[in-house]
């Protein structure tokens, strides 16, 4: 089951550049939350702070408080522990090219030392079914490379891989922006189904997508969270002028 995320006074820097300014936000559990905003507004940086991927860049640092349920992820845990509980799906599908489809899904468990074959088999099947990919790949699980299937299938494979470690939160950084409309629709269907079991945070440039999948939406601009509210409110009756300008296409 998912947990809620409470962000308090989160600031982030890349070298001398201050990319996130005092973000305060409460992301409810088992819902999908969309983050929108123009390129470079800090929404990707924000989600990367939620699983501490931000700090894999040596020049980057973050300050503030992020509570995942009861857990203060910057104080009470290591990045590796956090990332096992927070799955991430990236903008471009990034399956491991040297691994089979099966090994891609099992990698989170296998590379952390888990070897029980029967359990792995179950997890791989369950995760691929959850990602709606099982029927398309079940005959080639160990024969084909994770990079040999189509882009849309690769992205669902990456979702299955993230689900296999049984996370509580799923972060998606523009998961459909490199995909065609049919594959995009499949990913959106998935988000819709998965959000009852996981807390989903999705960054998107596509406002219709945000409207379709997310209960809540946050609007970022120049490193600040301008507005956070129910998706219907953001798109029909935003309280901030800048949000209105953005969603009506006056800039960005």
């Amino acid at each position: 089951m998912g947990v809620d995320i409470r962000v308090e006074n989160l600031n982030a820097w890349y070298g001398p550049v201050h990319t996130l300014h005092d973000v305060n936000l409460h992301i409810p559990a088992n819902h999908a939350t969309a983050l929108i905003g123009p390129s470079g507004c800090g929404k990707s940086t924000f989600v990367r702070c939620l699983n501490r991927m931000h700090e894999t860049n040596p020049a980057a640092r973050a300050e503030g408080k992020v509570l995942m349920g009861e857990l203060d992820i910057y104080k009470d845990a290591t990045p590796v522990e956090i990332r096992r509980r927070v799955g991430m799906v990236f903008q471009r599908p990034n399956p491991f090219p040297t691994m089979s489809i099966y090994d891609n899904v099992a990698s989170g468990l296998k590379l952390n030392g888990f070897r029980k074959k029967r359990v792995l088999d179950e997890v791989v099947e369950r995760s691929l079914r959850q990602a709606a990919l099982w029927d398309e790949v079940k005959d080639d699980l160990k024969k084909k490379s994770g990079a040999s299937i189509s882009g849309g299938q690769q992205q669902r494979l990456c979702i299955a891989r993230a689900l296999a470690v049984d996370p509580e939160v799923l972060l998606m950084d523009e998961p459909a922006s490199a995909l065609d409309p049919v594959s995009t629709a499949k990913i959106e269907d998935l988000i819709f189904k998965l959000k009852s079991q996981y807390t989903i945070v999705i960054v998107t440039h596509n406002m219709q997508q945000a409207a379709r999948v997310a209960e809540n939406t946050g609007f970022f601009l120049m490193g600040k969270l301008v507005e956070f509210a129910a998706t219907t409110k953001i798109f029909t009756n935003p309280s901030d002028k800048r949000t209105e300008d953005y969603i009506t296409g006056r800039f960005g």
Binding site: V80, R83, G87, F90, L111, S145, S148
Partner: protein, 295 residues
């Protein structure tokens, strides 16, 4: 109004002509250069085959050298000795080189220390091979007071390290960062990510680098002159002087005896075939587990 299109058509046809002439010229230069590189290579291989094959017989692979004047004899001990020295050199040099390459690519990117190690590796790569022999001589032979296969292996290993390290670094740099992030994002520790994801993704290129380093040192004579030293008899003890094909070829080719010249040709042929065979074997072995598709 009407003058301009005519003029531009003229200019266009001139540009097209110039481009096609340049294109043909450059293609021609490339073809001639390739031929110039290939001709000596094919000539050497062909001449080696012609001279060496006629002297090859079973005895070459099963007998040790015989004294001058006695007919027959072979280089069995040198073949085994070369295999032993090269095995030792690979065992020492490849892990060390890969380790250094991983450090450079995954841990020391953009650091002062990384730049220093990279510079050292490049300088080491340009050091004449006889200097490597001298280094191993003063490090091991002078201390132990006797020549040994061990010293020869160490000399060749030192030669392998910079090549292996730099190719490993370059191959790891071609692994797209999103793939590393995918692994880190699953909560896989960095050391595991480097071993099971980065290195594995870069492995075809790294294997090529190792094979290049291996092939280069396999034919080296100078570093072995005062380390492995050579041996006319069977020796399996790496702590003693040991025979090696390049050394044996060197000694036989410089001798005044026709019989020894014949054997030197055969030895050179065997050395080249051995290098080609081991490189091919590693390739086949490395490709066996490959999956369909990929990139």
């Amino acid at each position: 109004m009407s003058a301009l299109p005519v003029r531009s058509r003229y200019v266009a046809s001139f540009v097209t002509l110039r481009r096609s002439v340049t294109n043909n010229l450059v293609t021609g230069v490339a073809i001639v250069s390739t031929a110039l590189v290939l001709v000596p290579l094919v000539a050497i291989l062909g001449y080696l085959l012609y001279k060496g094959a006629s002297s090859l017989n079973l005895a070459f692979f099963t007998h040790v050298p015989v004294p001058v004047g006695d007919p027959g004899g072979g280089m069995a001990n040198a073949i085994v000795g070369s295999a032993a020295i090269l095995g030792l050199a690979s065992l020492l040099g490849i892990p060390l080189g890969i380790g250094a390459g991983v450090y450079l690519a995954e841990y020391a990117r953009g650091t002062w220390m990384g730049a220093a190690v990279r510079f050292t590796a490049d300088v080491l790569n340009g050091v004449p091979s006889i200097v490597m022999g001298l280094a191993a001589y003063s490090l091991i032979v002078a201390k132990q007071q006797h020549f040994s296969g061990l010293a020869g292996g160490v000399a060749l290993a030192i030669m392998m390290v910079p090549t292996v390290a730099r190719t490993t670094e370059e191959m790891l740099a071609t692994v797209p960062n999103p793939i590393r992030e995918a692994a880190l994002g699953l909560g896989i520790p960095k050391w595991r990510t480097v071993l099971s994801v980065s290195l594995r993704t870069a492995s075809p290129g790294i294997i090529t680098g190792c094979m290049l380093a291996f092939a280069r040192v396999a034919g080296e004579t100078a570093p072995l002159l005062f380390t492995a030293f050579g041996n006319q008899f069977w020796s399996f003890d790496l702590n003693q002087p040991i025979a090696a094909l390049p050394l044996q070829i060197y000694v036989y080719a410089l001798s005044p005896y026709d019989e020894w010249h014949r054997l030197a040709w055969a030895g050179a042929l065997v050395l080249i075939v051995m290098i080609m065979a081991s490189v091919t074997l590693v390739r086949i072995f490395a490709n066996r587990g490959a999956l369909k598709g990929g990139h």
